[in-house]
Symmetry: C3
Subunit: 269 residues, 3 copies
C-alpha cells in the first residue's frame, strides 16, 4: 500500500533537526521538529521540512503528525534573524522557501494533524493551521498570529489560512490585535480542535483523527481537499513574486528593522 524504504534510518533520523518516522502498519508518518532552542524556521530548516513532506508524498503515507520534540515550544515561527540586517539574496531565498514549504504542507495528498505540544506563535501557528486537524496540549501554552505585536504584518496567505479555520470575523480581530490564545481560548474559537493534558494524549487523539481516513480512497481525499483549499493556494501561486517583493521591501525598511532590533534585544534580556 505504501513504501517507507527505510526513511527512519536515513541521515535525517539521528543527527538532524527534523526526525521522521513512518509506522509500517498504519502508514502514518510522524515528523518531529527538534531544532533547539525553539524550532525557529530558518532557510535550512524550512528546506528540510519541505524535503520530508515530498518524501512522505512519494512514499504514499496515509497521514502525518507534525509535532515538536522540544520542551514547551511547538514552533516559535519564522527565524527573526533571517529578517534582521539580512543579506538580500538569502532573504529572497528564505521567503521563497517558506512559500514553497507552505504550499506543500497546505496541499499534502494525505491528511495531517498538528500535535501542538508547546507555544506556537506566528509561523508556528501558520503551520498548525495548515494541517487538517489540531490537537493542542493545555492549559499552559499559547497560539496565534501575533505579527502586529512585533511591528510586522501577516501576509495575505497567512491571513487566508486563518480565515479558513476560524472565519473572517475572528481572524480579523485576532490578526489586528496580534492576540495569543491559551489552549482553552483556542479551542473555544475553533483555532484548535481538541485540548488534551499532555503530548501522549495528543498523539493518541491525532492518530484517532487519522483513523477517519482508513477506508477513504486517497484519490478521493486528495481531490476533495484540493477543491476546498484551491482559492487560498491559487492566490499565492498567482502572486508569489508580488508577495516576495512586498516582503523584500517592507522587511528591509528602517522602521521594521528598528522594531525587529528592539524585539531581538528584548529576547536577549
Amino acid at each position: 500500500m505504501f513504501k517507507t524504504n527505510g526513511f527512519i534510518n536515513c541521515r535525517h533520523a539521528s543527527q538532524s533537526m527534523l526526525q521522521s518516522t513512518v509506522d509500517e502498519k498504519s502508514g502514518i508518518a510522524t515528523m518531529t521538529m527538534n531544532k533547539s532552542p525553539v524550532n525557529s524556521l530558518n532557510l535550512e530548516f524550512l528546506d528540510e521540512i519541505k524535503t520530508h513532506l515530498n518524501k512522505f508524498e512519494k512514499d504514499n503515507v496515509r497521514g502525518m503528525i507534525l509535532t515538536s520534540g522540544l520542551q514547551k515550544v511547538f514552533c516559535a515561527g519564522l527565524d527573526i534573524t533571517e529578517f534582521y540586517n539580512p543579506n538580500p539574496d538569502r532573504l529572497a531565498k528564505f521567503w521563497t522557501t517558506l512559500q514553497d514549504t507552505w504550499l506543500t504542507l497546505y496541499t499534502t495528498p494525505f491528511p495531517t494533524v498538528a500535535v501542538i505540544n508547546g507555544h506556537s506563535p506566528a509561523g508556528g501557528c501558520l503551520f498548525s493551521m495548515s494541517c487538517d486537524y489540531r490537537v493542542m496540549v493545555g492549559p499552559m501554552y499559547s497560539i496565534g498570529l501575533n505579527e502586529t505585536k512585533l511591528g510586522i504584518v501577516a501576509p495575505k496567505w497567512f491571513q487566508d489560512t486563518m480565515v479558513a479555520v476560524i472565519g473572517q470575523r475572528k481572524a480579523e480581530i485576532s490578526l489586528t490585535t496580534g492576540r495569543m490564545y491559551t489552549t482553552d481560548e483556542a479551542l473555544q474559537i475553533g483555532l484548535v480542535d481538541e485540548s488534551v493534558p499532555d503530548t501522549d494524549s495528543a498523539l493518541i487523539q491525532g492518530k484517532q483523527f487519522l483513523n477517519n481516513f482508513k477506508r477513504i480512497s486517497p484519490w478521493a481525499y486528495k481531490m476533495t481537499k484540493n477543491i476546498g483549499r484551491q482559492p487560498v493556494v491559487q492566490w499565492l501561486i498567482d502572486n508569489k513574486q508580488e508577495d516576495l517583493d512586498f516582503v523584500m521591501k517592507f522587511m528591509q525598511s528602517p522602521s521594521v528593522q528598528t522594531s525587529l532590533g528592539n524585539y531581538l534585544q528584548s529576547l536577549k534580556k
Copy 2:
C-alpha cells in the same frame, strides 16, 4: 397574488414520482418526492423536479417545502446506476440536468424549506442545503456529503454550497471524511436549522419559517437572495463544461468504476 391554475390536478399529482400541491390561501407549494425505494435522483426524476420548480416560479408561489413521501428516506442522492457502466451520452445528459436542476433550486425567486424526514446523504444533502432553511426529523436520521466514502468526489459547487451553510472549516472536515451526521449533530454544526420529532411538526415549523416572508416584497426577496448566492452560482455557470468534463473523465475511470461496483454490490447484500 399568485396563480396555481390547477397544478394539483395535473398529471404529476397522482401517478408521478413527484407530487406537488399549492395551498391556495398562503401560496405555499409543497413538493413531495415519492420515488421508491429511496428517491434516488436519476435523469428523469431530476428533470421532473426542475419542471415543477419552473412551474412554481411561473405560478408565483410564495414559498416551497421540499419533502419526502417515503418512510425513513428523504433522498438517497444521485442514482449511482447513472454512473456505473454508463452510456456516455446519457451520463452527459444526466449531469447537465443535475447542474440545471441545482441552479434552479438554488436560485428560486421564492423561499424554500427542506423538511428532511429521513436519511439524506450526498445529493439529498446537497438539495437540502440548497433550500433557504432546513427542518430535520430526529433523532434517528443522518445527513451529509459522504462522497469520499464511496470513493468519489463532491464537485466544487457541492462544496461551495456546504461552505455557505456551515463555513469553510466544518465543510472541509465534513467533506474529506465523508461524515454523516445525526439530526442532533447536524443541528449543532448548523447543517440543519431545527430538529423536530416527526414529519408533521417539521411541516409546521417549515411553514412557520415561510411566514417570515408574508410581508416581504417578492422582488426584494429575490434580489437579496441572488446577490448573496451569486458567487457560488456564477462559478458553475462559468464552468459548466469543465465540470461536466471532469465528471465524464473520472466517473468512467477504472478505479472509480471498481469503487462503485463494490458499493453497489454491498447495497445488494
Copy 3:
C-alpha cells in the same frame, strides 16, 4: 504622537449635527451623531461624517468611537426622503457620498468601535458593522439590515460587510427576512461583540477594546486590516458606477416609490 490641532473647538463641535473630540492623552477620537430626531443619513450628514474621518486620519488618532448623542436611536440609517421623489442629480450625489463615506469608514487606518446606544436599522447597522468592534446597549434596542422589510434591497457591499461579521449563513437569513435583532440576539449571532446596560459602560468597554492597540504599530495595524478587508472594498471600487446605476434605476421605479411612500406614510402616523 498625534496632533489634534483644536478639532474639538472647530465649527463642528457646538452647532453641528456631528460632534468630534479627541482625547489628548490616549489619542482616541469620539464622533457623536447628534442629528435629531434619528440621525438619518442624508447627503450633508454623510459628507460631514466623511470629513471628520479624514481629519482623524490626518491627525493620526489612535482609535475612534462612533456613537449617538440622541435618546434611543444610534442611527436610523439612510434618510428615506433622499430616495422618495428624488432629484436625480442629488440622488446620484447622495449615493456616491454614501459609497465614499463607507469606504473611508471601512478602511480607517485606526481601530474603530461602534458604541450602539439605541436602535440601529439598515444604514445604522451597516456603519456599526463597518467598525472593528461593536458594544451595544441592551436589552431594549434592535439592530439589523431590514431593507427587504421596506421593499428595497441591501446592495452587495452591505451584504458582504455583514457576511464578514456573522458569516454567509446567518447573513443570508438575516438579509432575506429583513430581521431586526435585540441586543441579546445580536450578541448571540455575533452581530455585536458585547452587550452592556448603559452608554457609560459601553464607552468604557469600547475604550478598553481600543487599549489592545496601544502597543501595536499603526502601520502594522493598517496593513493587516487592509489585507483582510480588501476583497469587500475592491468590489465596490471596481463597481462604483454599476452600483450607482442599480440604485438610480430601482429606487426610482414606480413599485419601489410606492413602497417608500407607504412606509413614509406609516411613519407619520
